[in-house]
Point group: C2
Chain length 142, copies 2
């Protein structure tokens, strides 16, 4: 990994959860994230496919959260914005005439899946509502 998509997605979902009912424009959201509105639209387009948000064109348009923030786990968001495996296999297939080259991938894939499952297990324990709660608590403490 090492991309910021999950971070930004959670950030945006917190914003939307904070304003349930209202519509937030991609420009307004981009202002909070400190990026370009198109980046936000791109990211939210994938969350829309997932049924998490809805968008509306035109004046008074914008983005809206469709589900309760307590029902959305970080794991769900992670899978949408970051499908695919955490660990990559070899770039070119290893030498099949070498015993280890021939069998290493088959051996590794299971362990890599287990590791990823460990990551996902933890992400599944946390909801957007929880993160938002933390953020608000932090805000109060200032």
């Amino acid at each position: 990994m090492v991309n910021s998509r999950l971070t930004v997605a959670i950030h945006v979902l917190c914003l939307l959860a904070c304003q349930r009912g209202d519509h937030l424009t991609s420009e307004c959201i981009a202002g909070s994230v400190n990026t370009n509105p198109v980046v936000i639209r791109r990211l939210l387009a994938t969350l829309r496919k997932a049924g998490l948000v809805r968008s509306q064109g035109g004046a008074a348009g914008g983005w809206e959260l469709l589900r309760g923030p307590e029902s959305i786990t970080l794991l769900e968001v992670y899978k949408y914005v970051n499908p695919g495996a955490v660990f990559a296999m070899h770039n070119k297939t290893p030498n099949p005439r070498c015993l280890i080259g021939k069998n290493i991938q088959r051996g590794l894939v299971g362990y890599f899946m287990q590791a990823q499952a460990g990551l996902e297990r933890e992400l599944g324990k946390v909801t957007i509502a929880q993160v938002l709660g933390d953020v608000m608590a932090g805000a109060k403490a200032d």
Copy 2:
């Protein structure tokens, strides 16, 4: 992530574990991994800093494993070849005049660390010896 360094590192360590005592050249190793010898030397240079392997220049030189493969976990290798966090924060710092922008990172970092710990916990359960065992078992089954 999504780089292949852990995969290649495990592959190479299995090769070296298979030939304890012997020296394997980077060219020979590269032949099994199907890449360039310099890529192998670069990777092994970091594992040498970690004390896992030793190298020797000159004729009859090459690489040698310094520790028992049953004492090396995938976690240890992972940390050497892939230091740093799995999840990245925002590229530019979010808007501090927005409540959420100001506090989101502080809120997230803990959850991200937990998730990474979940990943690492699983990697810590597996050793190079185990992977090598699987590979050999797979080889026999063919």
